[in-house]
Symmetry: C2
Subunit: 457 residues, 2 copies
């Protein structure tokens, strides 16, 4: 895949207004990496699109000339998903950030892909509604759909795909299509919608996204539960899930993570294995759920179960949880990190966490463990000094954790997507299906211009 | 597409044991139609498969010779989805009806496609678990996945697709692939899983299905609410949904439907527009939901709200609801029916029902209206005498209802699938996406052997 030739650049500039095109050095640098430690790779040029027609015009041009196009939202991903690793165009959707149509009477909203999650939820809250998936970062809705983002509330509410009911998508050849329906259920022909959700910009570019929404429940209650050791915490998670409780969050943190966020956020949480729980619903429901969950925690050796914190304390805790990756990065200055994102069936969760701890200890690497325990999804930020031997040790740990997860029936990525970091697990995870995926990619994008180098080599 | 030549039949018989092949007249007749009034069309031969290898062997053979293969489960569908309208092989999966692996600790079960829903739920109930989608009929799980079935509980629990986490699929060329993961969340490459769910046997044949399960909630409460007119009932539905309540069922019946099921089941429900409601959850939650829903019903003109029926009365009511199509058929002896299955955004539900009533009255046709109101999905069984003029009137009514639903942002089929009866709405509903669907069909099944004549002409 070739990058952009000079003459093509001149032609491209002719298609858009001056302020829509940038080759400014700081702009290129800002589009050269996401939040991960993957290598930087600037695009040749950034195009700030403002409409589906802009996207269509751009893709037609790039398809004709075989120029790579990589969609960009907010750059908050963790697998270099929006990084133009083969150069070409960074298709920046951040200016397409409007709510097109809010229909509270249908619990639906139609947005442009560049709107930021927190801004959307602020606007929705006036109507008593919200969009539940919450990866913590100030990500765009387009990016969330592209990655099928999940986050802390997915254990109750499900990941992004459960909320996308309609998409306007621009295909590689510039065709603009619509998939899905405004109806809340449909069995009408093939579900193209969910083929696009999670396709990481490799099958098409979203220009309109219709989401169904949830009502903000009247009552919220949070709790923290401290445990003497990690295995007691993980077995509690399994029992909580099996009990049929439906917490809105069920997060785990190991002592290293707790220590890092205490330091980063000035908190004083006991530096032991800790569960963060949240319950949402009507008042009596929440009271009952908190009671049952406390019972389960205490019977599993919980040493300290703290409930019913006020809103301020709760917000502080969740902010700390959301910033835990930055907290751990701050505690490991000058180091790089590989971020593990495996998910396994819940009964395998304790074994999986134990395996991660063991291989980290074997290689003497620091890797704080935390995760969306309720969904069997956890993260380890494997920190390493940026030198070949340490890097290779970190990769060995990562590979060992992921291959173990796959053996246990799990997945290489619960919510971050494949990007460039998970490609080498795809054949093991998907077998012959992976070939079929590639055939679908080739059908929709025969010249391979859309986000080349992601999901497939 | 040619049917089966004599020599091919001999070869086919050589591939399977004698009892796996049937050309018995009563067998052929039993596979010639589903529960709908669509024309009968027997296959040339029925093959009772017993394993994925059987399916693979059969598809390889038929793909080589260009012989149509139409998967068959229980034949309870309503759009001729499993009927071999071009002849060839009826691939009967009903003997593959085992639970392969029940893992209550992960809230998961792996089944063969031929297991019947009610049998599965009976087995699961011993573990306090259930598979929520419930179309009412004694359908197979394979058929439910093929059609993305929904039913009465989907308003709370979602349709079948929300529960399918892994599939073993035999492709047209005989390749056996696996899609999905046992993890409860994944963002790993393309979501082929949901491309197969709802594909009505046109893209591949399921041989293993892994479902996630829900815990049986400790408390269930049902209620009926009677209204003086249909518009008050439909506007109540809208307010109930908008209130953020999450009923496990929210069904509507018009007076004709109530009259039909009273006659069929010996019930004495008031023959007025009626809502059936059900709430499930922990005890305090259910009590609160019932209280709020009653308040909303009464403030919308409900004349009679009856709650807290015992289990027996509740089961009787739901059985009556499930059998309402048969009840109405019994009330219209000797007539055929087109079954409408549109779904619209909830705010359009009253307008949509009113439109259906109006066009039925215009054409002087009897069409009991009922449906999964909470999801904006409703059915009309448009009864007509089997003569050309009456048939054409019934089709005009059906077309008018469906095209109005599409104008309102809805779908031609909320849960029955496309089959043969909804094909002529597909271009209007999906636009250019429909062409892309066909390209995917051609990619996976280049010779068009899988369930030809369904979803596409």
């Amino acid at each position: 895949m070739k990058a952009l030739a000079k003459m093509q650049l001149t032609q491209l500039k002719g298609l858009f207004s001056e302020e829509q095109i940038s080759q400014n050095a700081s702009d290129l640098a800002a589009h050269a990496r996401d939040e991960s430690a993957h290598e930087e790779s600037p695009p040749d040029v950034i195009v700030y699109v403002q409409s589906a027609d802009d996207v269509s015009k751009l893709l037609k041009f790039c398809n004709k000339h075989g120029i790579p196009v990589t969609p960009w939202g907010a750059g908050t991903s963790l697998e270099a998903n929006p990084v133009a690793i083969h150069g070409g165009v960074s298709l920046d959707l951040s200016k397409m950030n409007q709510i097109i149509d809010l229909r509270p009477e249908d619990l639906q909203v139609t947005v442009q892909p560049g709107i930021v999650l927190q801004e959307l939820n602020k606007r929705l809250s006036k109507h008593g509604l919200f969009f539940p998936p919450d990866p913590g970062a100030p990500c765009t809705i387009g990016g969330m759909v592209g990655n099928n983002a999940a986050g802390i509330q997915a254990v109750k509410y499900g990941p992004t795909k459960n909320y996308v009911i309609k998409l306007e998508v621009v295909l590689a050849n510039g065709d603009i299509i619509t998939c899905g329906s405004n109806a809340m259920r449909t069995s009408s022909a093939y579900n193209l919608l969910h083929l696009f959700v999670g396709s990481e910009g490799t099958l098409g570019v979203f220009t309109e996204i219709t989401l169904k929404l949830a009502g903000i429940p009247p009552e919220v209650s949070a709790a923290t539960a401290s445990f003497p050791d990690l295995s007691k915490a993980t077995s509690t998670v399994v029992e909580l899930v099996q009990s049929g409780l439906s917490p809105a969050a069920l997060e785990i943190m190991d002592p290293v993570t707790v220590r890092d966020i205490n330091a980063f956020k000035g908190l004083k949480l006991p530096e032991v294995p800790t569960l963060f729980l949240e319950f949402r619903g009507n008042g009596p429901e929440v009271t009952e759920d908190v009671r049952v969950s406390q019972e389960i925690c205490m019977s599993n050796g919980c040493k300290d179960y703290r409930v019913a914190m006020g809103r301020e304390e709760r917000d502080k805790l969740w902010e700390a949880r959301h910033h835990s990756y930055y907290a751990s990065a701050a505690a490991n200055p000058g180091m790089r990190a590989i971020v593990v994102d495996v998910a396994v069936p819940i009964s395998k969760f304790p074994e999986m966490v134990e395996h991660a701890r063991r291989v980290l200890a074997d290689k003497r690497l620091n890797g704080p463990i935390l995760g969306h325990a309720g969904d069997g999804n956890f993260h380890v930020a494997i920190f390493y000094k940026d030198e070949p031997k340490e890097k290779s040790k970190a990769h060995e740990v990562n590979d060992s954790i992921v291959f173990r997860a796959l053996e246990l029936g799990g997945t290489a990525t619960g919510e971050h997507g494949v990007g460039i970091g998970k490609i080498h697990f795809m054949e093991t995870e998907h077998g012959k299906s992976y070939k079929l995926m590639k055939q679908i990619k080739d059908l929709l994008d025969p010249k391979g211009i859309l986000n080349p180098g992601k999901i497939f080599h």
